[in-house]
C-alpha cells in the first residue's frame, strides 16, 4: 500500500556534536578513518576516568550569560538544534514557530546539577542558604528541550523523552509521531547527553562492573572484542529536523532519509540485564512497520556498549534475525567503538554517523576489535576497515536501555 506524502516523514537537517566531530561531515570523516577521540578526565571522588568529551563552539549560538545559566545538556541541545535548522535550509525568519515541536531524548537529567550543588554546599558546611536558585530550572526534565525554545523563540510543544539509553531513538520516534498526528509541521528531534559531568553515572557503572578501563583511552570502548570490560561514558547530541514529505518537497529540501519503521518495547525481565528475545521482537516489529524483510536491511547499527553480557545478547538477537545465509548483503557495525556511549544521544548520534552511507556507499567499521569474541562473531560484522558496498538503501538502528526499554529505528534512502 502506498503512503500519501503527508504520512511520509523525512529527515531534512542534521545537527550534532560528538567527541570526534562537531558536524556530520567531520564526524563521518573520523568514522571512516578510524578516529575516536576519547580522553582521560579527572572525576570528582574517583580520579581519572575515560570519557568522550565534545569541543563544539558553545559561543556560536549562546551568549556568555546564556551559557552561565545553561546546563551542558541544554547547551548541546541548542547547538545541535541550531545546526540542524541551518543545515535544513528552512527559512527561520517569519516561520510560525507555534508549529515547531522540540522532542529531546535524555537518559537522565538533573544528576549533574544536583551533584554540583551538593558539592557546593559541602564547601559551606552543608548550609542550604548556599543552594542555588538555579537548581530547579536546571534540573527539570524538560530543561534541554526548553532551553532550545528559549534560545530559538519556539512556541510549539517541548519536552524530554526519558527512555534511558534508547532515548535518542525515542526522541526521533516522538517527532515522527507528532508530525503524523499533525500536531506540528516541523520537529526538532533527537537526543543529548551531559552525563560525563556526573560522578554518579561513572561510579554507578563502576560498582556494576561495567565501566571500561584500558591503558589507551581510545581503545577502551571495544564492542565485540574478547577483552571488552565495560562502557566509556560520553557527552554529545544529535538533533534532526523532521518534516512531512510534502512540506520538504514543496521547499525543495535536501532529504537525508525517510523514516520507514520503528518500534519500542519492554523486556519486563530485569532492570539492567538485556533480553535478546525482546530485542528480536522489537526489530521484527520495526521491520513489519517498514514492510521490509531482514535481508533488505543493508546496515544494522548495533547498540553494543562494550559490556561482556550486553554485546553477546545483542549479537544473539542479530544472529537470529539476520543469519548470513538468509541476509548475505546485510552488514553489521557499531559506532560506540569510536565515541563511547553517549547515553541519551547514542541512538540519534549513531544514526547520524551512518546516514552518509546512502551517499558514499561505505559502511563505517566497528574499531578496536583485536580479538573477536566468538560469541560476537557475526558473519558480516564490518571490523576495523570501512567496506564499500554496491548500494546502501536501508539502515536499522538499535538502541536499548535500562529498565528493559528497547528501540529500533529503520531509515531508507529517499526514493520517490
Amino acid at each position: 500500500m502506498s503512503k500519501s506524502l503527508s504520512s511520509r516523514i523525512v529527515i531534512t537537517g542534521v545537527g550534532l556534536t560528538a567527541p570526534n566531530g562537531n558536524s556530520l561531515a567531520e564526524f563521518r570523516q573520523n568514522l571512516l578513518s578510524g578516529t575516536g577521540r576519547i580522553a582521560n578526565i579527572e572525576m570528582r571522588y574517583m580520579g581519572q576516568v575515560h570519557a568522550g568529551v565534545c569541543d563544539y563552539d558553545a559561543r556560536k549560538y549562546q551568549t556568555r550569560r546564556e551559557l552561565r545559566n545553561s546546563t551542558r545538556a541544554g547547551s548541546i541541545a541548542v547547538y545541535c538544534s541550531r545546526e540542524a535548522v541551518t543545515d535544513s535550509g528552512i527559512e527561520w525568519e517569519g516561520l510560525d514557530t507555534s508549529r515547531v515541536g522540540v522532542y529531546v531524548g535524555t537518559t537522565e537529567h538533573g544528576n549533574v546539577e544536583t551533584e554540583h550543588e551538593i558539592y557546593n554546599i559541602s564547601q559551606y558546611d552543608y548550609d542550604v542558604r548556599f543552594w542555588s536558585h538555579h537548581h530547579n530550572p536546571r534540573t527539570v526534565a524538560n530543561n534541554p528541550a526548553g532551553e532550545v525554545t528559549l534560545n530559538m523563540g519556539i512556541h510549539g510543544p517541548h519536552y524530554a523523552i526519558g527512555a534511558a539509553c534508547a532515548a535518542g531513538n525515542a526522541g526521533i520516534i516522538q517527532g515522527y509521531q507528532m508530525l503524523l498526528l499533525g500536531e506540528v509541521d516541523l520537529a526538532l528531534a533527537g537526543g543529548v547527553s551531559e552525563s560525563i559531568q556526573s560522578f554518579g553515572i561513572f561510579a554507578g557503572f563502576k560498582s556494576q562492573g561495567a565501566l571500561a578501563v584500558h591503558e589507551d583511552p581510545n581503545k577502551a570502548s571495544r564492542p565485540f572484542d574478547k577483552a571488552r570490560n565495560g562502557i566509556v561514558v560520553s557527552e554529545g547530541g544529535a538533533i534532526y529536523t523532521l518534516e512531512r514529505l510534502e512540506d520538504a518537497k514543496a521547499r525543495g529540501a535536501k532529504i537525508y532519509a525517510e523514516i520507514v519503521g520503528y518500534h519500542l518495547n519492554s523486556d519486563a525481565t530485569d532492570a539492567v540485564l538485556p533480553n535478546s528475545e525482546r530485542q528480536v521482537q522489537c526489530m521484527k516489529a520495526a521491520l513489519r512497520k517498514a514492510g521490509l524483510q531482514p535481508s533488505e536491511i543493508d546496515i544494522v547499527n548495533t547498540h553494543a556498549t562494550s559490556t561482556p553480557q550486553g554485546d553477546a545478547q545483542e549479537c544473539q538477537a542479530i544472529r537470529e534475525l539476520f543469519p548470513v545465509e538468509v541476509c548475505p548483503e546485510t552488514r553489521i557495525n557499531n559506532t560506540k567503538s569510536y565515541i563511547g556511549h553517549a547515553m541519551g544521544a547514542a541512538g540519534a548520534l549513531e544514526l547520524a554517523g551512518n546516514l552518509p552511507s546512502f551517499e558514499d556507499g561505505l559502511v563505517h567499521p566497528t574499531i578496536n576489535v583485536e580479538d573477536l569474541d566468538p560469541e560476537c562473531a557475526l558473519g558480516n560484522l564490518v571490523m576495523n576497515e570501512p567496506e564499500k558496498r554496491p548500494e546502501i538503501r536501508t539502515i536499522l538502528n538499535n538502541s536499548f536501555g535500562m529498565l528493559g526499554i528497547n528501540s529500533c529505528l529503520i531509515v531508507k534512502k529517499f526514493a520517490e
Binding site: 550569560r65 552561565r68 542558604r129 548556599f130 542555588s132 536558585h133 538555579h134
Partner: protein, 85 residues
Amino acid sequence: MTKEECKQVVLDIIAEIAPDEDLSNISPDVRLRDQLDLDSMDFLDIVMELRKQYGIEVPEEDYPQLASLDSCAEYLTPKFKEVSA
C-alpha cells in the same frame, strides 16, 4: 569600605553574572534593571554572591534597596562594616 568601593564590589559581581554587558557607563542613580538586561534570577545571583563572597545577608524585604548602584552603596556599606568589624 567606602561607598565607592562598595559600588565597585557590586559591579564586579554583576560583571560575573552578566558577562556580555558593557558596565563602563552605568549611571549610579538609575535602576540597574533599566540599564542592564538583568532578570529576577540574575538579581538572586547578586544576593547569593554577596552571601558567598562577603557573608552579607540581604533579607527579601530589603531587595528594593539594591535597585541602583547608589542605593546599593547606601544599604550595603554599613553591612560591609559590620562583617569586617
